[in-house]
């Protein structure tokens, strides 16, 4: 259903019906001393050509957008087929909002249902919600859900989980009595260690795979360790394309899978809007946050879609709600759904394979450079850590200014004692030429 603004005539009619002269009267309960009482400080209206020129001039400041980039770390450069943008521009998709009378938005509910189904298939889980805001808040909600399900307060989270995700989740839970314990990683493998922090007070073990260093964790044995103490196993996936190649978290014993769907045809956009994924097993569904589309049948036996299990939501039961979220990332989830359906199972496997193969090639040529090595031995997908002979910030600055290449992310931004390490990401959008240029630029430094 299209969402169109009201005309001045319609506004007049509404005001007359409720007996008011102007829209300002609707706000008369707001104290005068906090009202702005002046025009907003923006420019005079500009001609369309002037607006376009101003926007282009601002966009041109983003010099990084035109440079070859090996940046990953939670936001990934993948190719989005033109059909994604073409379809989401349809006005009934582009203008519509979260349905509050959901049953009349059957088209919206249908694509949400398809999104949920595809996420279940990729994660190997039994039920997925209509999406969350992003990967980091999905993870924060998983902390809360695990605590509700187990009635325990401790969350054991690996330091190899994205540092900004951990920070968001900590902020989210800071007034709720969560006891968050961060555990270390093995400096040789790049995988998590420190599992002796697991005990009978632990609500969940939270692990990212591929982790922040690009290393694939041994999910099955981590699941066993969590379950042995009665804790839930939460897997975080920041690079959704990895689901096209790696064993699904569900098949490895995950109780909750959360993550980021940006890799499915969504532009990087300087960090958002992206889309959070949240999936769990059927037995936990009533503790899952977020909206949930379901199939139902009308009295004539025709299939339709509904929003279901609504008693989890705050507008139905405030104190017992599983979350305060009452919406989803509808347009972004739709774009991701179109991407997944356009690529199909084979397409996704092909993209994932290209990512892995190109990253393997890049890792090989870079580690062959004198003074450079790969410090972590665990298997990887499309990201890996490179260790050089000087501080990574210097290496990367030189690559950017002298060679016009964004070479990666210095680990020193988040981890102490890793000053010479940087994280490199290679996707299907990176060409062999670009990888060779990166290697040349590094070795000539």
């Amino acid at each position: 259903m299209r969402y169109i603004p009201n005309s001045p005539e319609e506004r007049e009619e509404m005001l007359a019906t409720v007996g008011l002269k102007s829209a300002e009267e609707l706000f008369r309960s707001i104290p005068a001393d906090v009202q702005l009482n002046r025009a907003l400080k923006i420019t005079e209206p500009l001609a369309e050509s002037e607006v376009i020129a101003a926007m282009e001039s601002m966009a041109a400041k983003n010099t990084g957008a035109t440079k070859p980039s090996f940046l990953g770390a939670g936001v990934y450069s993948h190719y989005s087929p033109t059909i994604v943008d073409h379809l989401i521009q349809r006005s009934e998709f582009f203008t519509s909002y979260t349905p509050y009378q959901p049953e009349i938005s059957q088209g919206t509910l249908q694509y949400i249902f398809e999104f949920q189904t595809l996420i279940c298939q990729l994660t190997g889980m039994e039920v997925a919600n209509a999406s969350m805001y992003d990967g980091s808040t999905s993870m924060a909600e998983a902390y809360l859900m695990a605590r509700r399900v187990t009635r325990r307060d401790r969350i054991v989270v690996a330091k190899t989980v994205h540092p900004e995700y951990r920070e968001v989740a900590r902020t989210y839970g800071q007034h709720g009595g969560a006891d968050i314990v961060e555990i270390d990683f093995n400096e040789d493998t790049g995988r998590i260690s420190g599992l002796d922090a697991l005990d009978d007070k632990t609500a969940a073990l939270v692990v990212q795979s591929p982790n922040f260093f690009g290393c694939i964790e041994d999910l099955k044995s981590l699941a066993d360790a969590a379950h042995a103490v009665g804790a839930l196993f939460v897997v975080v996936v920041t690079e959704a394309i990895s689901l096209g190649l790696l064993k699904s978290p569900g098949s490895c014993g995950a109780d909750i899978v959360v993550g980021e769907g940006q890799s499915f045809g969504i532009p990087m956009s300087f960090g958002g809007p992206h889309v959070g994924l949240f999936a769990t097993q059927e037995k936990f569904v009533r503790q899952m946050p977020g909206r949930l589309a379901g199939v139902a049948y009308d009295k004539n036996g025709n299939r339709g879609f509904v929003l279901t299990l609504s008693t989890r939501e705050q507008h139905i039961r405030r104190e017992k709600a599983t979350s305060n979220i009452c919406t989803n990332q509808g347009l972004i989830a739709l774009a991701a759904t179109i991407y997944m359906e356009a690529m199909g199972k084979k397409g996704l496997q092909e993209v994932a394979t290209q990512n892995a193969q190109k990253a393997a090639y890049a890792a090989k040529v870079i580690s062959a450079i004198d003074g450079y090595s790969l410090p972590f031995s665990a298997p990887r997908f499309n990201e890996f850590v490179v260790r050089g002979p000087q501080p990574a910030t210097e290496t990367l600055e030189r690559l950017r200014t002298s060679n016009g290449i964004l070479g990666g992310l210095a680990l020193s931004k988040y981890y102490r004692g890793h000053d010479n390490d940087f994280l490199v990401c290679v996707t299907e959008t990176t060409s062999r030429t670009q990888i060779d240029q990166l290697a040349d630029a590094i070795s000539n430094g």
């Binding site: 009533r286 008693t311 139905i316 039961r317 017992k320």
Partner: protein, 129 residues
Amino acid sequence: MANIPENLRYTKDHEWLSVDGETAALGITDYAQSSLGDVVYIDMPRVGDKFGAHEAFGSVESVKAVSEIFTPIAGEIVELNNGLNDTPEKVNSDPYGDGWMIKIKMENAGAADALLSAEEYEEYLSTIG
């Protein structure tokens, strides 16, 4: 006309109690199940949970509403009717029999005497229409 068995005690929140020594079984009345409509889910506490008098111990969800269920007397949950997980409709079809929800060990065995008798509950129903 709602069914109100003689041998049970009742509350104004439409729960019934069946006392057996120190333990009481609890469920919702015929009037309640009829008002709620088709029951789809009962949110149960856990065995061992303790509740005070008039505390909500769970909720019953139907196709059109969700209502909290209260225990009129203080005590500890000793048994749950787990069969309701698969067949919640028993609450509608047999509210006083297979539709029982919890068994609670009463903190004070005499507390049930303060509840409404069948006659008093019937009287109460006639006032709320």
